[in-house]
Symmetry: C2
């Protein structure tokens, strides 16, 4: 199932490619790595969305739950004027790759790298300005319930894969899909958040914490 | 041609409907008016995107080029903490409808209503924080070229209908489609703007003015 009409998707992708971006070569290398190794990362269109939103928000503290080797973290770090993005991953190997990319990108001073359970690590931080969810898809709702008191008023939650290949819109959801649907419904119904869902790539939910 | 898979579109629409919004009844009435009279307006999903972006931006001056009877202007005004949204339209009748809706919504102090050529009216303002394009589709590029010096650094341009029923992605574009494509390409290529295109409804381009 295609979420977006494939011609339209290609059109948007192509517009994103004609835009100037400073670190084109390294980004291309990171994208190629994902492609060759079947490593799930966001794409250029979602990256640019994150960049624009982060510029508008001007955060001091961004926490990523599930950073892989740092592709999504690039867009946060690049858009930040001060402060840090905290990258988390179970796998040491991923974060050491991230570190070496960030070194080449000149962004090391804007990042912390923390190996371990992403939710437990995030729990250590207060006053989170942006929380990015890209960990196991069954854990999104748990992550929010456990971390919402660590989020500042006016902070943003950005969650990837919230359309889950379009499966959230189909009948008889499997367990993983059902969990994502539950998360989406929670975020839209909650009076503590104002939410939108953007159908770029696999679906990006963006929520602002109201009170 | 469907831009978004129709099941996915319905899913996102339904999430937007379960969310609390203060002025539900009047918004529903405005949406019904559009439906009955075939009046082209943005929809709830684009409205909520505008609301969230406006909250993040916290603008003093928003100018809409092509306001109709004020449905899109609602989301700007509602999200603003101070300042004004300037509604423009050729047609007096549209803006007097907008005025009466804004009165019922308690938003009159956040709006100015200006009948006439939208671009000429906008030219009178300096330091625009958000410029919303929803006028004739052939005029988008002209509007930007004539108004970009009136935009503040860091300001946003938000343009509706930039996927134009998906026609921008098809071969042999008609004149109107070609004009929109030209506009999109200009915004993505320009080193003065950082742009993204969001495939909600008929496509929303959002650009941030860099320098
Ligand atoms: C989808 S990938 C991240 C991609 C990255 N956000 C990007 O777009 O560039 C998910 C990563 O999260 C890690 N992960 C999943 N659940 C986690 C958890 N609970 N704690 C820490 N890491 C987790 C996995 O090891 C994997 O590297
Ligand atoms: C698509 S409708 C606006 C809908 C509105 N933005 C909304 O979403 O609720 C476009 C409106 O722009 C007006 N319009 C188009 N070109 C214009 C121009 N150059 N100057 C002033 N008004 C214009 C039309 O009269 C029409 O009411």
């Amino acid at each position: 199932m295609n979420i977006l009409n494939s011609q339209v998707e290609a059109y948007i992708e192509q517009l994103n490619r004609i835009a100037f971006i400073e670190d084109e070569e390294i980004l291309k290398e990171m994208e190629d790595y994902a492609h060759k190794n079947d490593f799930p990362i966001i794409d250029r269109t979602v990256g640019r969305l994150i960049y624009l939103i982060t510029k508008l928000k001007n955060p001091k503290l961004v926490i990523e739950l599930g950073s892989g080797y740092g592709y999504s973290a690039y867009y946060f770090a690049k858009a930040m004027n001060y402060g840090k993005v905290v990258l988390t991953d179970y796998q040491e190997k991923n974060l050491s790759m991230a570190k070496s990319y960030f070194e080449r990108l000149g962004l090391l001073d804007k990042a912390d790298f923390r190996v371990g359970n992403a939710i437990e690590i995030a729990k250590e931080y207060k006053d989170i300005d942006i929380l990015f969810l890209d960990l196991e898809k069954t854990k999104y709702l748990e992550a929010i319930l456990r971390l919402k008191d660590n989020l500042k008023v006016g902070s943003l939650v950005i969650a990837d894969n919230t359309l889950w290949y379009g499966k959230v819109a189909q009948d008889n959801p499997d367990d993983k899909t059902a969990k994502i649907k539950e998360f989406n419904e929670y975020m839209f119904k909650s009076r503590e958040f104002f939410s939108i869902l953007i159908p770029l790539r696999d679906g990006v939910l963006i929520s602002s914490k109201i009170e």
